[in-house]
């Protein structure tokens, strides 16, 4: 079974600085998808960034980028030039290629942005 681990329950960053959120996962599969979701106080989960396991190139979306290390089964999220609006819970998620109902989430990291 696939598991997703976020080892940092809470992180803090100064506005305009860079922060990295960690995520590791356990799988025996070679084809899968990884996601980072943001959950602000409104509770709505918002997709931040997505990575396909067969792609070696790290995904980037504006100030958000990932460091995908397939062999190490690591998928960290880097937020550059942090903004107050980035404060939220961040969830790492793993989705198998082979089962439509199987998206597994980590326990989340609460990010605080200090002005």
């Amino acid at each position: 079974a696939q598991t997703v681990t976020q080892s940092q329950p809470e992180m803090s960053v100064q506005e305009a600085e860079t922060v990295t959120l960690s995520c590791t996962y356990d799988t025996s599969e070679s084809d899968y998808y990884l996601f980072w979701y943001k959950q602000p106080p409104s509770r709505q989960m918002i997709l931040v960034i997505r990575q396909e396991a067969y792609k070696q190139q790290n995904a980037t979306e504006n100030r958000f980028s990932v460091n995908f290390q397939k062999a190490a089964k690591s998928f960290s999220l880097k937020i550059s030039d942090s903004q107050l609006g980035d404060a939220a819970m961040y969830f790492c998620a793993y989705r198998t290629e082979y089962n439509n109902n199987d998206m597994r989430f980590g326990a989340g990291t609460r990010l605080t942005v200090k002005p």
Binding site: V4, S42, R43, M45, N100, N101, F105
Partner: protein
Amino acid sequence: GAGVSQSPSNKVTEKGKDVELRCDPISGHTALYWYRQSLGQGLEFLIYFQGNSAPDKSGLPSDRFSAERTGGSVSTLTIQRTQQEDSAVYLCASSRQSYLNYGYTFGSGTRLTVV
């Protein structure tokens, strides 16, 4: 609608009562998921609907939980004889079948409190 709509936003109920939570997915999204998010935890898969196929109920924690999806659109999650451990945020997500690997669109959830 423009997004996934869930109602009610918050629900307080007495232990032992039944509750119904509603999810209205994005029009045209054939895949619909229910997740449960307990305090400090990641998202726990509950049930998955895909078109007219039989739902995948493998995540439902007990027979007190059930869900239906009428006409391939609106879904209702019912919890019978609620217990205090049922207190959580219940999130609904939907997706087009062909876009499952691109992530889901989530609603803002229903916060259920059992007193």
